[in-house]
Amino acid sequence: MAQLAWLVPLFPLASYAVLAFRGRALGERAPYVAIGAMALSALLGWGAFLEQVAGAPPYVWRAVWAVGGERTLTVGYTVDPLSSITVAMITLVGGLIFVYSVGYMRGDPYYARFFAFLSLFCAGMLTMVLANSFLLMLIGWEIIGLCSYLLIGFYFRRRSANMAQMKAFLTTRVGDTLMLVGIMALFWQFGTVDYHAIFEAVREGGESASAVVRLGGWEVPLATLSALLVFGGPVGKSGQFPLHVWLPDAMEGPTPVSALIHAATMVAAGVYLVGRAYPLFFYTPHHEALAVVAWVGTLTALLAALMALAQDDIKRVLAYSTISQLGFMMAGLGVLGYAAGLFHLLTHAFFKALLFLAAGSVIHAVGTNNIKEMGGLRRFLPVTFWTFLAGFLALAGVFPFAGFWSKDEILLEAYHHAPAVYALLSATAFLTALYMSRLVAYTFFGTYRGPAHPEPDPWTPEDYARAGLHAPHHGHGTPHESPRVMTGPLVALAVGSLVVGFVGIPGTGPEGGSWIHHFLKFEGFKEAGIHAPSFSWPLALRSLGVALAGIAVAWLVYGLRAVPSERIRAWVGPVYPFLRNRMYIDALYGWVFVRGGLLLAAGLRWFDVHVVDGLVNLVGGVTVVTSRLHRLFDTYVVDGLVNLVGWVTRGLGLLLRPLQTGRAYNYILVAAAGLGLIVLVSLWRL
């Protein structure tokens, strides 16, 4: 199976090719192609995963792509526990989201295009996960960036979608550029882009690994610098502070996209990369790079959770929650919780995809994103409600849902390795329970308020006409449950959100540890004498208590309305608008970068018009004067020479013309004579 793993990204790629070229003709049948390809990938991916579970050794295949001097660029793929479990997760969650999309996107005039983009995304994501070198990883990375851009702007007639897609692309580009520089630095330092070779080099700490660069008087180890530069990519892609601003806006895309790309997989790519390149971070002096990762993660988790409290758009709340959880993962990886962070990545993919899809089901039913305009939906949408509840409990970290086990792992690691991080993450966990309870209370409890401003249809009648469809008429009466094809994946993911966490139960692995700890283990810990802290009940109960406290507070405020939220808002004063406006970070970026950019452009234009053009005109004037003088010289001296050359050439041509007969046998004769001459010369030298 591992030998066939290279096929895994190719099936979605083939599906993309088919849909891109024949999509229009396929019409309603387009999803079958995409889902079929995904099923084949899932089959192979799970085969490889189960092989790894059964204890197969990691499989690496590499081929030389290009050779330049002494350095070679290799490409290839690797199947080991980390990549195989991630592939298994992507194919499973992705497949379910594909199925869901069949219902969600039905009647869309660009149905096939949507599945084409999703397929391409999966191809890129799987390539990125299976890659065994930074080079191939970068290729997959850029493909998923492109797909994210395309899918955020899927409703391309909406101006807000256009803005959002540009924002996402440009923001992540900042991180990607840093990462590219980092990869170049690694290539320069180690002469290869192969993961294995680089990690071995940093582990052994040889000459090339301990190179140092001077940055304004500071001596920085080059490896640390490269690691931090590479970390720039994950910061951008995984929405870490300060590049998190694009992710909430990315919710302009269709909801399955939000679920697949902006919750389950793409944003997890950054976390995955940190996990994949863990040796790079780990083997820096005093684990400096890991500390940076930990603090960026913690800060992101806390800030995003705070911002989530004040949002009204159901998908934006979930988006901030995603950012917060990604921060959790980064923090987990940063505090030496290698397995913990990646475990949270896996569980989060399930319950966050579930939450998004359920939110999509809600939006589908009521026609708005604003939670203030919902309410009481648990009666109308029973399946959606119960599955959403499962996702909510998992996210809040309530026993025995998946989130409990993975979040607890991270808190445990933080408690042992970085108490300050532990305190902040606990606060975040409390906030998480709080804002999610708020969301549930507004959406599913209380009375149905009905949308004041229904979302406008993203397409024009022409779009529908071109696709041969009828524009749907929007007359939302009472909300209605979504079709089977949408609720089916919800139920499957809800079950997943419950059971995936069980691999983290202590005692399921050897030596009283959990299975996931055994499966995803980082060899460097053992060498460095770092032991994973063992599960402790007091800590687990404490984190459970924090979560339940959050839920209880929310219940008081939003459910029972014992303390009305308006009063709290008045009480906290300017804090609420501060949070609601995303801590003014977006506005700041708008001022500094967008306005700054415009100002810079204006300044440059002024410089152009007045300074550069003036110079050019001056040069022009001087040239005109000199050229007058030249002309005299030209007419009499130069032309005379040119004509002379012309006559000579013509004469020679007339002389040589008979040689150019146009008859091949003449030429062959000359060639044969030349051959004889060459033989003669070489004979002479023999």
Binding site: G662, R663, A664, Y665, I668, L669, A672
Partner: protein, 102 residues
């Protein structure tokens, strides 16, 4: 004892004959026959080298077979061109096929 030089000698003479044909014939088909002779001369060399110099992987045989195949291709295309030229110009003499000459 017949050694490599014998075969190469035959090959050299055959090559000379072929070249002479190519250089002096007017008829395109006859030129093609000259080329075939030259190719055969080359093939004799390949096969002789295989026996007398490097027999292990019969590389010369492989080369000779590829040359035979390509000779067949060349003959097919060349003769198609000849037929086409004959149809349009009613001659197959290469010195009379000169539509491009101004």
């Amino acid at each position: 004892m017949i050694g490599p030089a014998h075969y190469l000698g035959v090959s050299a003479l055959l090559f000379g004959l072929g070249l002479y044909g190519v250089l002096t014939r007017r008829n395109a088909v006859a030129i093609l026959m000259g080329i075939e002779l030259m190719l055969n001369a080359a093939n004799i060399n390949f096969v002789a080298f295989t026996k007398f110099v490097d027999p292990t992987f019969v590389r010369g045989h492989v080369a000779a077979l590829i040359v035979i195949t390509l000779a067949a291709c060349e003959a097919v295309v060349g003769l198609a061109l000849v037929i086409n030229a004959y149809r349009h110009l009613e001659t197959v003499n290469v010195d009379q096929v000169n539509l491009m000459k101004g």
